[in-house]
């Protein structure tokens, strides 16, 4: 069914059609519309699931962990401070290998308080052991959410679907909402190989000493790397069913002969596509959106950047003291590659600062630099003020 929905309502409908049995969440902007939407669908009799309004994100993550471990498909959504408050449980969920789907309505992290979009929240938990998929538009958000329920079940790894707060969650755009029948064909009933059951007693998350802990962590790393197969398979199967892919590991746009590429995460991919089309028609440019940030698809990235002389990484998060997080990982993935492009790091759009079409020409100027640009905050309005209290 093709119709115009607010991004959050589209996600809510997609989630409900995946037949979750337990949804727990705590209010936080800009995520709240998603759970409100789910609560309304339940109240309207369109969904059969229990929506629990819990006392914090910490509780939300714990409730869905319990529900999923006890044999229910479970779902939660949060953003920003909520992701950080959940962090302890997010590690726990991944460590226990419990299937869960979480929508992260990406938002900046305090202080100062800021409710608008950037990717700092998802980046803060990038090493929690979750699969992290970034969406570029609301169709992508719907398709990725549905695929996430399948991926998490196939891999027994939790999946975080990252959707740009406000930019996507509050945007009305026409989307194709897959039917219940399509989703039922794609998504088998919930199963979890270690469901808690008194008739088959077992324990999850128990104390493990130095003699086993390393193996468990190494297994998580190995399984997360191997989950690329399931992520690609889910997208391919989805394409067979609805005739539309959600982007696999990396979305690509632009001619093969391009010498300059721009790699980004999330909805700014659409901005770059429009900028290239409107402002620089005919200029060969390769635009890329990393859909799958965890596991980090190093092999796919190496293939995607073939032939490029310069790769500009544009990201909405910063690792203070280190630089761009994505750029750092890209450099690591390309290290040792023959004829690797020069990697330039650009940070923009922090705390909801608009990334206009004009960003493209400023990004391309980075490629003219004599030396690769390690990290530049490209949309500063003014030079940052001196250290609080002055130089010491």
């Amino acid at each position: 069914m093709r119709a115009a929905f607010e991004g959050s309502q589209a996600i809510a409908r997609a989630v409900v059609r995946c037949r979750p049995q337990v949804v727990a969440a705590y209010p936080i902007t800009p995520q709240t519309h998603i759970v409100e939407g789910i609560a309304k669908l339940v109240a309207d009799g369109e969904a059969d699931c229990e929506v629990v309004s819990v006392e914090s994100e910490f509780a939300a993550a714990s409730v869905v962990l319990g529900a999923a471990a006890a044999g229910s498909r479970a779902y939660t959504a949060t953003a920003s401070q909520g992701v950080l408050l959940m962090a302890e449980v997010l590690y726990n969920i991944a460590g226990m290998r419990v299937p869960l789907v979480l929508t992260c309505a990406n938002r900046a992290v305090s202080a100062p308080i800021n409710i608008w979009n950037d990717h700092q929240d998802a980046m803060a938990v990038r090493d929690a052991g979750w699969i992290q998929l970034f969406c570029t538009d609301n169709q992508d958000a719907i398709d990725t959410t549905i695929q996430a329920f399948r991926i998490t079940q196939d891999t027994e790894l939790p999946v975080m679907v990252c959707v740009d707060g406000f930019i996507l969650t509050h945007l009305f755009e026409p989307v194709d909402l897959p039917s219940q029948e399509q989703i039922d064909m794609f998504l088998p009933p919930y199963r979890f190989s270690r469901t808690l059951d008194p008739r088959r007693p077992l324990t999850l998350g128990t104390l493990v000493g130095p003699e086993h802990y390393t193996e468990v962590r190494a297994q998580l790393h190995g399984d997360l790397e191997a989950s690329i197969t399931e992520i690609l398979k889910a997208d391919a199967d989805w394409a067979d069913l609805v005739g539309r892919r959600a982007g696999g590991l990396i979305k690509l746009d632009g001619p093969h002969r391009a010498k300059i590429g721009i790699l980004t995460l999330g909805s700014v991919y659409g901005t770059l596509q429009e900028a290239a089309r409107e402002l620089l028609p005919g200029t060969p440019l390769r635009l890329m959106a990393l859909r799958c940030f965890r596991p980090f698809p190093a092999e796919a990235l190496r293939r995607a950047v073939e032939g490029l002389a310069d790769l500009i990484v544009l990201e909405r998060a910063i690792g203070p003291g280190a630089g761009g997080i994505l750029a750092t990982e890209v450099r690591a993935a390309l290290a040792g590659l023959r004829d690797a492009p020069r990697v330039h790091g650009a940070v923009a759009g922090l705390g909801g600062r608009d990334i206009p079409l004009g960003i493209l020409s400023r990004l391309l100027r980075l490629a003219e630099a004599a030396e690769p640009v390690r990290c530049t905050v490209i949309d500063l309005r003014s030079a940052p003020p001196a250290r609080p209290g002055g130089a010491k």
């Binding site: 209010p27 902007t29 709240t32 409100e36 609560a39 309207d44 408050l85 308080i113």
Partner: protein, 283 residues
């Protein structure tokens, strides 16, 4: 008859206590939080507290915004943590009057843990919990004090959970001063807050406030005047003994002071303990 001459310095003018450059404020029309802020600042004024000796701490939510409007030492901390922050602040600066402004979500849900321990510890802090029965800032989700069956955006079929009685919680957790008042009567609220701040030890005041835009409208409770009158219909001043007088009137929220007792304050205890430890070491 002796007339007491009021000098301009004695007269309470709320503008003296506000950061007017922060205005217009962002509270909705009809919101009770402005009245609560007025009562609080009036109490501070009457107690003669210097603004430099006052620290106001708030978390996240509609109540959390109030600290930003007060012209004193103010801190806007993470969701649910103002009492924990205030504990650190008071330990470092016992000379300051430390007041926490929190809400039903900030103080009873995500920060509920800190509230019970602040009550138990009895550090000399004052906590004003502005209860509007809803998460107003995020658009009206069910909160721990939302009454059963009320409609919110996350309970579109009605709330199936019972609400919290914040004062009973504080009392049970050991707070040495517990009171409740509604924004209907600001002078009485001011007196209660004044007594709470003057109280030595942890003091807890629940302020019944109204969310007209997001909660009242959704539950057909009328506009601000109707909601305030509803407070009046429901309340029982403490000089009536807080007795339920059904069937004539429901008694959802008794008002007044429920707990007023003396228990050693945390810092005093701590200092006595360390002094004793030092004495033993010397002996």
């Amino acid at each position: 008859m002796n007339e007491i001459a009021l000098t301009s310095a004695d007269r309470f003018d709320i503008r003296d206590w506000l950061r007017l450059e922060m205005f217009p404020h962002f509270l909705c029309p009809g919101c009770g939080h402005g009245l609560a802020l007025r009562a609080f600042l009036w109490a501070v004024h009457e107690l003669g507290i210097d603004r430099d000796a006052l620290a106001v701490i708030s978390g996240i939510g509609c109540a959390g915004r109030l600290s930003a409007y007060v012209d004193a030492n103010t801190f806007h901390v993470t969701h649910g943590r103002p009492l924990a922050f205030a504990t650190g602040l008071k330990l470092a600066r016992p000379d300051l009057t430390v007041v926490v402004i929190t809400g039903d979500g900030d103080g009873l849900a995500i920060g509920g843990n800190h509230l019970i321990h602040a009550c138990r510890r009895n550090l000399d802090l004052t906590c004003l919990l502005l209860n509007n029965e809803v998460y107003g800032m995020t658009g009206g989700q069910v909160s721990p004090t939302t009454a059963a069956e009320r409609y919110t955006t996350t309970t579109p079929a009605g709330n199936c959970e019972p609400g919290f009685d914040a004062c009973k919680l504080a009392e049970g957790a050991g707070a040495t001063f517990v009171g409740r008042e509604a924004t209907l009567q600001v002078p009485t609220l001011k007196n209660l807050i004044r007594e709470a701040i003057a109280h030595k030890g942890f003091s807890f005041v629940e302020v019944i406030s109204d969310c007209t835009e997001i909660f009242g409208r959704k539950n057909a409770l009328g506009n601000s005047p109707e909601m305030v009158l509803r407070q009046k219909a429901g309340m029982r001043p403490d000089n009536w003994g807080n007795k339920v007088d059904r069937p004539f009137r429901p008694n959802p929220f008794p008002t007044g002071v429920f707990v007023r007792k003396t228990r050693p304050e945390y810092l005093e205890l701590y200092e006595a303990m360390t002094a004793a430890a030092r004495r033993e070491e010397r002996d």
